[in-house]
């Protein structure tokens, strides 16, 4: 699929979601798995906008989405030039079994992202974060 450049503002989520929906359709992902890929992309894009670019503004101030449909899988890559951050190394929230009243609200989004896709990889090169999400096309759940 063609690339999509987005300004690093929360309003860009709509276009990002549309992009992922189109990708999922092109790859023939079942609705449940398309929804999961969407969730992962939304969480990662939101995290980059709110935290990545939140404090220390990168020069680029953009997100780049790239994607592909292959015979066995679809992938979508999120590229940004915020400070290096590897979402694949995030620890799961420690209080997953605690009552809501005692929960601290952080860390859920990246955890959900990692749990929702079949594979997630991270690379930092050329001064940019590159997170790639993979969904197998043959899985139905």
């Amino acid at each position: 699929m063609s690339q999509l450049k987005l300004p690093a503002v929360i309003g860009s989520l709509r276009e990002a979601v549309q992009y992922v929906d189109d990708l999922a359709r092109a790859g023939g992902l079942p609705a449940v798995r398309a929804g999961r890929l969407r969730l992962a992309v939304e969480e990662l894009v939101t995290n980059t906008i709110v935290h990545g670019y939140g404090d220390s503004r990168g020069a680029w101030q953009q997100l780049l989405l790239d994607s592909g449909v292959e015979s066995d899988q679809v992938w979508v890559r999120i590229v940004d030039d915020a400070p290096p951050f590897d979402p694949t190394r995030c620890q799961p929230p420690r209080d997953l079994d605690s009552p809501l009243a005692d929960r601290t609200p952080g860390g859920l989004g990246l955890y959900l992202a990692g749990q929702s896709v079949d594979r997630m990889t991270y690379e930092y090169s050329g001064g940019r974060n590159r997170v790639t999400l993979f969904m197998n096309r043959s899985n139905t759940r």
């Binding site: 309003g11 969480e43 939101t46 009552p99 809501l100 859920l108 955890y111």
Partner: protein, 106 residues
């Protein structure tokens, strides 16, 4: 993405009906509705999710906000959550703190 809420109050039960997609762009509307709900004495907070098509972590933080905004004993009932919405809630362990139901208690 569209998201709307309606609030009805019946005694100490508040019912918030969620329609559409609850994500980072719409979560503020949910929190405002929770604020309104918390203005009175609430024993049971019912979230009618039958027309909620999507829930992300921003919406989950709204659930934490609701629980912490109201008294400790408030019971949160989620009605007719879709499989995917329920899965997201279970994945982060929130099912320990809410009740899933097929109908609005009453």
């Amino acid at each position: 993405m569209s998201f709307t809420t309606t609030l009805t109050r019946s005694g100490n039960t508040v019912i918030i009906t969620l329609v559409g997609e609850l994500d980072a762009t719409t979560a503020v509307a949910f929190r405002q509705e929770v604020d309104r709900a918390a203005e009175g004495d609430v024993e049971t907070l019912v979230l009618d999710m039958k027309d909620l098509t999507y829930l992300s972590s921003a919406g989950l933080r709204g659930l934490v906000f609701a629980k912490q905004k109201m008294s400790d004993g408030v019971k949160i009932v989620l009605v007719k959550a879709s499989d995917e919405v329920e899965r997201t809630i279970r994945m982060v362990g929130f099912h320990h703190s809410v009740v899933f139901s097929d109908h609005v208690p009453g």
